[in-house]
Symmetry: D2
Subunit: 334 residues, 4 copies
């Protein structure tokens, strides 16, 4: 009776997801996995008692696979999501939904053509208890009219091969989604400003950067992005309303006092900070899928985030702000 | 391949546990439930797709039940645990392990006679990330020698029929276990002192109370207990070492600023504060049981907590401190 | 032996300063006061035992006045400071140093021509224990290379007649000075961006605004400015370095827990937040003056802040950033 | 017109007080100093422009001395205060008021016989903004009925020659006064319990200790006392009421984030923590004296604190609690 899930991609995140689905998510089982790295896929399959597929399409169309999790490289996402839609199977696709704006639009068009929602994009922060509390506070009208959003996104490091544009398409994209979601508003323009380059900045990276985004209703959202910051992984969000603030706090549970200081730990990476958020996201996806519904970020959200992220990447080299152009929103997305 | 679990008792906690096991715990399924309230048990069984048993012993001895969760009234615990031991089935028993010291000792004796561990007592705080971090901080030697422990346990209310002794055996027993666990030390004496009675105190309750416990190594643990405190459910713990402090912090994730105040929410009850801790506990129990091991509080821990709690209840009416006498610890418990 | 001080201007701030100098500042006495409002000046003079002068110049040149505090309207500042320089008397001038860039430059030129420093500009935040600790943290190299500065400056209200430009020249000017001082760096360009207008914004005010300033070394400083924000007076500062953060914290000394919330008070205005900072500033000015030295913001600092503030006011209506042009810094200012 | 003050005792605290009075307290001047260490007194007198007296009585009766600050050794306090009363001069006496209960009672009797108040005892915490806010919160009825008070008083070290009893009469006496003052209530019994001795405890000291005091209205106040605690000087206070808490917070103004930790400084001693509190106390004493009134702790408060402190010292060696017996409170003290 458990949802039989197929996992595409068995890299770090795919393996995490598959392991969680197999061990700590209720109502779920991992039926099959696929990766171009056959050995890696095989090892995972063996460990969690799943079958290994030879091809993504085989897994997607496997009659014993009820739903699909996509954790393959970003360039493969759009085709795999399209195949899931074609197969009529619910799919949780890690961000980004697609590596180009056109591909993201194709996914939206395909799902809209199908006429029912199957796709959830893995913007896990929407399931983080802190962000949920911020959204609830806004939605309840407790801070009045949202006027400004302050975000910080500092990474201890980024992988080799990380390009300057990826600071927008891979890192800042989380804030793009969360700002849209918190405010229930579209982003219409984006500007990128550089901070002073520090000694740890990697060749080819603008680091740090400050991104300014304006929404359709005029809210100004600013995001500080640092790619290489030794002190820790630091993510923050504060929404300034006409009558109050909603502030995401660091989720500390313990503090220590020693040798002249009272201190709390700063997370060493996204896994420490958002590990449990991924669990909540997977559990919510499984429960919703079993109930025949879809929660979380939609294909439209994935598309819009992609458009804004690419505009932000274009804005990295521009003196002025860059406008955001979206296709018409299909009625399927409300 | 999932662990097939039988749940005894379908009151508030039993229903919570059964629902969680059926929906948000990996590797688990609920095979059967039992409650003296047949209608209530039947309704739950129907909702989660389990069978309803006519008797606790039937459930325990059901060949399709691999492991048992006991959430029945405290007076039934000891007999049910003993039946699980007799049946050779792993069991997670909500605290208390037994309603009398003698019954708790019988459970220890039975498990010791069996020669292998089957029993986990539901002291869920041992799985709370905050308490785990406090323990890790102590165990790593970061605060030096533990000298004093400060605890606070304030409830918004207690159920009708709650006796004065239950402030020790039902409420403060959590601190008894957590102090023993944090320090890896036995409690040898206990004293209870009254605070000033406030306007909300219920007839027959000493409220508030301050409990002072001394451990074998001389650590002084003090616990403020309030049974009826309208502002919120407030649980705290700070361990004072010779070289530092480990402080359990309130697990806030958001704050708000409005009309002159910056504030964070105080939980409205144990379910808000420890709801996710129960999930972690259940998941850990399921994973350990599937792996053939036992984690968490043992029958010995349940026995020791019972002895101390009853000594504390005796100390409520006494001018002096009351000593704690434990039976010899069977080698099974290390 | 106490410093005999003359106070120009007996409005709210002048009265505060005179009263503090007469009662809670060591080494000081108020010898004379002047205000165009004769009754108001007379009343204060009577209350603190000072003489009332008929004209500002009379007070400045009074042989029984050793030093002058200027708290008159901003348009009078430059002439009064120039008169103090001409008289060779130490002067503490409330910000702004002058109401025009040219006037500020004249003050700098006059003091430079004199060849010794007499002027302190009343940027009191330089004496706030929090800002001092932030500066010390940076100066000690503990956060590495400063890269970005985040500031917030929210007011509960502004006086009638407050213009849109004054959001820069009167409010944000505090951040202009503090950023220059914290970083020991000049600001070279400024840009102003609007946030979403809220329901409390006053006609004619861009409210809220986000100001982006770049320093000579490339540090990006951003300041959120709100003129009318009912929840409270909220001033913040965080300096992001390559190896750490220095964060100005809200100076709370007490918290309360009631009816479901743990909270601390947000100041209701600058007097609550910076009242003691003014005392420290006045005490430091008196002590330095008695010792024949000058501390705090110099005439040059007052000039530079004026230039940047006027550039920021120009940037309010501009699409692009506005450059800042300073005259050559006289050697007197190091 | 400034208050002409004589300072008795020019050790660390006397020198601090005299220097503050001479430099950073409004309305005050130091006219004379005395110390048995002639060289030390002479050096201070020279530095701050005061005369040096050959004897305490000479200073007290000096016609050019309007008021006296006593910072001599505790054993000299009572006689010096009595001489001030005999001379009709206002006096601020550092705690303790007297080194014996009988001497303290003699001071009370002498002032009562005089029929007007001259004596303030230097319990400076009554002027600390944090404690003041705690008291205001209680007095406003915001936390309902006070039921329990939790205090912590941890020192980094104590001077050579510090006896075990002094943990009560010199250290814990601050909490005795503050509890009496916060609750406007007398302490009627005291009990002392030992914590586990740590590796830094000095020979002859019970360290740490937990002191339990009960007030006339039944409030239970507990104080953790540590004499030698390397991490820092840590003073706390929380008052638990039937409807809320008032919590003294650590007065941080800045935090830093580096290498995996977000931290704030723990004070290294009472001077860091309460330095400004002493300034506020001295300023309030000067202002009140100039106005012909008395604020702060009275001779009665000094007497009551002495009685409780000596009872606490007696309780260090006792198994049971020790009762507190006060003389009848003269009407002079309200």
């Amino acid at each position: 009776m458990a949802l039989r899930i197929g996992v595409l991609g068995t890299g770090a995140i795919g393996t995490d997801h598959a392991t969680m689905l197999a061990t700590t998510i209720g109502g779920a089982s991992v039926a099959a996995v696929f990766d171009v790295d056959i050995a890696r896929a095989g090892e995972l399959a063996h460990r969690i008692g799943a079958r290994r597929h030879e091809a993504a399409t085989g897994l997607i169309n496997d009659a014993d696979v009820d739903a699909v999790v996509i954790a393959s490289p970003g360039t493969a996402h759009a085709e795999q999501v399209l195949a899931c839609i074609a197969a009529g199977k619910p799919v949780l696709c890690e961000k980004p939904l697609a590596s180009t704006v056109d591909d993201a639009a194709r996914v939206v068009a395909a799902e809209a053509a199908l006429g029912r929602r199957l796709v959830q994009v893995g913007f896990m922060r929407r399931f983080d208890p802190g962000y949920v509390a911020v959204k609830d506070t806004i939605a309840a009208g407790r801070i009045g009219t949202p006027m400004i959003v302050h975000c910080v996104h500092r990474n201890r490091s980024v992988p080799a091969g990380f390009t300057n544009a990826m600071a927008m398409t891979d890192t800042m994209v989380h804030e793009i989604d969360i700002v849209r979601w918190l405010l229930d508003d579209e982003i219409v323009s984006v500007r990128v400003v550089r901070g002073r380059r520090g000694p740890h900045a990697v060749e080819g990276h603008d680091d740090p950067q400050l991104v300014l985004m304006t929404t359709a209703s005029g809210v100004l959202a600013e995001v500080e992005v640092i790619l290489l910051w030794p002190p820790g992984y630091d993510v923050r969000c504060e929404v300034v309303g006409s009558d109050g603030l909603a502030t995401l706090e660091h989720p500390r549970v313990v503090s220590t006092t020693m040798t002249g200081n009272r201190s709390e730990v700063v997370p060493d990476g996204w896994k420490t900070r958002f590990g449990d958020t991924y669990r909540i996201e997977l559990q919510a996806w499984v429960a919703a899928t079993l109930a025949g519904t879809v929660v979380g970020a939609s294909a439209w959200d994935g598309y819009a985030a992609t458009v804004v992220a690419h505009a932000a990447a274009a804005a990295q080299g521009a003196a002025d702000e860059v406008g955001v152009r979206l296709i018409a929103r299909p009625p399927l997305y409300g």
